[in-house]
């Protein structure tokens, strides 16, 4: 699997993503500085977490308009897998690769903790390592993770099986109390129509090492490597 992690000024989970991918798949991704306008031949592009450009104005807004994102968009159009984690998800929505917007958490506070997610679909290269309906534990760490889209968009996401993860309780119910940020319909991650772009607020790369407290994030990278090798 040929993968790359995009590094923006202010990215801070770029190394974490590279470490997790290397650890789980044995393939080390290339680190690509945002000013490199050309992307090499790739199977997977990761847009990592962090605070690109300080997350000033709106999270992800300035990174979304940087030249490298045009190249990422072009790759995505050709079917290259693109994974946006946390700030990466915000960048992908701002860049128009995914619908909706990520707004300030309902609590208005930054929140860092493990949450439970129900895997909504195993029909993608990102989620085929899980079973639909499975409950996994993955951390969130964000200030702006409240997923918003209008009702029509939300309906379409559901009709097209493009909701990848929902915040849920231990029984797998997408309960209000299990929603850490006020996301519409408890949505934690979504796919594009081609199912080759996934954006999610939780950080699978943070729980892919037993010493860090769990490995529920690992199946995502394993499945990607299997599909893309």
């Amino acid at each position: 699997m040929k993968s790359a992690v995009i590094v923006f000024p202010g990215s801070n989970c770029d190394r974490d993503a590279a470490v997790a991918i290397t650890r789980v798949t044995g393939h080390a991704p290339r680190m690509i500085w945002h000013r490199d306008a050309d992307l090499p031949d790739l199977d997977l592009i990761v847009v990592p977490g962090g605070f690109s450009y300080g997350d000033y104005l709106r999270s992800g807004a300035m990174a979304a308009h940087s030249p490298i994102m045009a190249a990422v968009k072009a790759k995505a159009d050709k079917g290259v897998r693109v994974l946006g984690i946390c700030n990466g998800f915000q960048v992908l929505t701002e860049a128009g690769l995914l619908p909706g917007a990520l707004m300030r958490n309902q609590s208005l506070s930054f929140i860092c903790r493990d949450v439970l997610l129900r895997v909504e679909t195993s029909n993608s290269d990102f989620t085929s390592g899980y079973n639909a309906g499975q409950v996994v534990r993955i951390p969130v760490a964000h200030h702006d993770g409240c997923f918003f889209a209008d009702e029509a968009t939300l309906d379409r996401l559901e009709d097209e099986d493009r909701v990848a993860f929902r915040y849920c309780d231990a029984q797998g119910n997408p309960a209000d109390a299990a929603n850490p940020n006020g996301s519409r319909r408890n949505i934690a991650g979504i796919l594009n129509p081609g199912r080759n772009v996934l954006g999610m607020m939780p950080h699978p790369e943070r729980l892919a090492d037993p010493l860090l407290g769990g490995t529920d994030g690992a199946p995502m990278f394993r499945a990607l490597a299997a599909a893309l090798s």
Binding site: P9, C13, R15, V19, F51, D55, S109, F110
Partner: protein, 728 residues
């Protein structure tokens, strides 16, 4: 542009006494101009010169075979093997945080990060020790919310995990909160950078953000007693830009990987003045700076303003000749300002020019050497009586326990640390909520344990014992996760040192700390002093915060506080509980903040701790927690809540409340497989360590001597509930 004349009022406004001003005149051989006066003022402020504290700080032990660099540089450096060093320091941002909690706390984090990466270390962990006024004081909630958001806002954005700290409430902090921030970084031992300038003619380079009129006089503000009219001084608050700091970290580390840098120093308190002054002074050189070349973000800035500005996210470097282009390319890549503002000279003077004219010209060494140093009068604290357990009324233990774990002091700080990204960088093995946080050293199996501790109510009751206890507790917290304690940084927060009783607290606390450092092989490698923490004559509790780190050779061997399983043997290491003076129980259950605090037997502390660490390292222990605030039962309850598993414990002694809630020092609770218990007790007997079987884990409740069970779920609800309810 006409400059103000130097009147006695202006001298006084600059915090210089008439005596000190006479010294200025004799050093200069003439009256200083306003810029020169400003430079004297900040260089001789308490904050920069440590004039009240230096005499006593010098008495602290600072050496050990593993200490690479002790106090005197931007941060302390200790060897952690394999060619790596840990670099760390703690610093206060008390006054700014009271005036503007978000920005004050945020810029405190920014400042301490710079102290650490200035030396070549990548920051890997932040801690924060916070002290607020009474929960019901009208300002407290606002301050808690702002400070926590500010620490998170800065640390989260720069991408350094905030892994530990402390939060306490006490009315003495009503008008003067404490915000002590600590950063730990990792560097290669052959790539450590110092601030001593060398090489006459070498370029002096300014990098980072532009200079504005921020925080002019911040350093003098931090050295003057607080009064209600300091609201007037508001514009001195600085705004932090964590995004720029993140770029500055990356750019500095990238440049440090080359051989372009001779010396480097962050611009902290007193900005360009103290950074340029200290670099030149350490190297015994002079410096020439052209102020027209300093990047500014406002028009019409005077030399005085440029020299005294405390704009954040700036650094000063001396480069190897000919490396200017290499360095500039790195800072261009990270889109940061870069400007060659001057050069080193052999004159021993600081010469500033602007618009082609000399605007200041002062001798460096005489100024540094003549910095005032005081032996302030001090009086020892009064010894308080020991409180006999028999005279403290006894309440049902279950009720007392719920009060303690569900109250302002004992409740979980989850509300706080969940606002901090404590996992970024992917190496947080021990998250907040345990004794010490544990951060793996990237790419290795080693880890650094980190904690911050002090018990101010003990220090105010007996500063000498309190000083010993603060160091001992930090040592114990590191030990409890299995780490070998290495060294400490201290943040001495006290009231007005011109009052002999306050100075006495300072002196006695230092003596106690020093004794503990020696007994525990735990040297002081960096620190910070914050005096004049008073409002309208009311001093804070003396608060010598101890930040400490320890080394874990293999993070897989570490243990947490949660019970691993039901059916485990519980053991008490150390003496039985007996001491209720200054305890949580006495204060919160009996409503009496009285008596002498528990004494610290340093030999026993060391023996018991070494024994516990040894057991953890050989895998005989499945959970461990040190005993501190609230004593035995609070510790066991915390272990139960961390795992959701109950326990039954046996308590002995004439007074059940003293046995359960006494705060005797040097103690731990261990959980171990049943099969290990007898062996551990035998080993303890052989090592002369007091130890006994305490009980067994299991069930969903806590009971004492098989009676009066309290459900773990009820404890947890109280423990987790207080903080969110308080903050609304």
């Amino acid at each position: 542009m006409s400059e103000p004349a130097i009147t006695p009022e202006i001298v006084a406004e600059h915090g210089l006494s008439p005596d000190e001003y006479d010294r200025v005149l004799s050093i200069m051989g003439r009256a200083p101009n306003i810029t020169e006066l400003g430079i004297f003022s900040v260089m001789w402020s308490e904050h920069c010169s440590y004039k009240s504290s230096k005499k006593w700080l010098k008495t602290l032990p600072t050496k050990a075979p593993w200490v690479i660099c002790g106090p005197g540089e931007n941060a302390g450096v200790v060897d952690i093997g394999d060619g790596q060093a840990a670099i760390f320091k703690m610093e206060s941002h008390n006054h700014p945080s009271f005036i503007e909690p978000y920005q004050g706390a945020a810029t405190g984090v920014g400042g301490i990060l710079r102290d650490v990466f200035t030396m070549g270390a990548r920051p890997v962990a932040n801690l924060n020790a916070l002290r607020f006024g009474a929960p019901d004081h009208p300002k407290t909630r606002h301050l808690v919310a702002g400070v926590v958001a500010g620490i998170g806002g800065y640390g989260n954005c720069v991408g350094v995990p905030t892994v530990g700290g402390e939060v306490e409430f006490h009315p003495s902090y009503n008008g003067n909160i404490l915000v002590n921030a600590m950063t730990i970084g990792i560097a290669d031992t052959d790539k450590i950078f110092y601030s001593e300038a060398s090489g006459v003619g070498n370029p002096v380079v300014y990098v980072g953000s532009k200079t504005g009129r921020d925080g002019i006089h911040g350093a003098t503000m931090a050295s003057a007693e607080f009064s209600e009219d300091s609201e007037e001084k508001r514009p001195t608050v600085q705004v932090g830009d964590p995004f720029t700091e993140k770029l500055l970290i990356e750019a500095c580390l990238e440049l440090m990987a080359t051989d372009a840098i001779v010396a480097i120093q962050d611009m902290g308190a007193a900005g360009l003045t103290s950074s340029s002054f200290e670099m030149a002074s350490k190297g015994g050189l002079g410096v020439e700076i052209d102020l027209d070349r300093v990047p500014v973000r406002e028009t019409g800035m005077t030399p005085y303003e440029i020299m005294l500005s405390e704009s954040q996210e700036r650094m000063l470097m001396v480069l190897e000749p000919g490396k200017e282009d290499v360095a500039k390319a790195v800072f261009d890549k990270w889109e940061l300002d870069f400007s060659i503002i001057g050069r080193l000279t052999d004159t021993g003077r600081m010469v500033l020019t602007m618009g082609g004219k000399t605007v200041a010209d002062l001798p460096i060494d005489p100024l540094a050497q003549a910095a005032p140093e005081y032996d302030r009068p001090w009086t020892p604290g009064k010894k308080l009586p020991e409180i006999a357990a028999a005279e403290v009324p006894e309440r049902p233990w279950g009720e007392a326990l719920l009060t303690l774990v569900g109250g302002p002091q004992g409740s979980s700080r989850r509300w706080v640390w969940e606002q901090y990204d404590h996992m970024v960088m992917g190496d947080t093995v021990g998250r907040p909520g345990g004794d010490a946080a544990l951060v793996r050293i990237h790419g290795t199996k080693k880890g650094l344990a980190a904690t911050s501790d002090v018990t101010p109510r003990y220090v105010v009751a007996d500063a000498h014992q309190g000083g010993r206890q603060a160091v001992a507790e930090a040592w114990r917290n590191l030990t409890a996760v299995g780490a070998t304690p290495l060294a400490i940084t201290d943040n001495m927060n006290f009231g007005n040192p011109e009052r002999p009783a306050i100075m006495g607290q300072f002196v006695e606390a230092i003596k106690g700390m020093g004794e503990a450092c020696i007994a525990l092989d735990f040297p002081v490698v960096s620190g910070n002093v914050s005096l004049y923490n008073e409002t309208n004559g009311e001093a804070i509790l003396p608060t010598p915060t101890i930040g400490a780190i320890g080394l874990m050779p293999d993070v897989e061997q570490s243990v947490g506080i949660g019970f691993a399983a039901p059916g485990q043997a519980l053991l008490l290491i150390g003496p039985e509980g007996s001491w209720l003076g200054q305890s949580w129980y006495l204060a919160q259950v009996a409503n009496r903040a009285e008596g002498a605090p528990p004494p610290v037997d340093l030999a026993a502390e060391r023996r018991n701790g070494d024994f516990v660490r040894g057991l953890i390292r050989v895998g005989k222990v499945s959970a461990c927690h040190d005993l501190s605030d609230g004593g035995l039962l609070v510790a066991v309850a915390e272990m139960a809540m961390a795992s959701g598993i109950g326990a039954d414990v046996s308590a002995q002694g004439p007074h059940l409340h003293a046995a359960l809630f006494g705060e005797d020092q040097g103690r731990y609770v261990l959980a171990a497989d049943e099969a290990e218990a007898a062996g551990i007790l035998a080993a303890a007997a052989a090592a002369g360590v007091p130890a006994r079987r305490l009980g067994t884990t299991g069930g969903d409740a806590l009971s004492v001597n098989g009676k009066d069970a309290v459900k773990v779920a009820d404890l947890t609800a109280a423990h987790q509930g207080w903080f969110p309810a308080f903050m609304g």
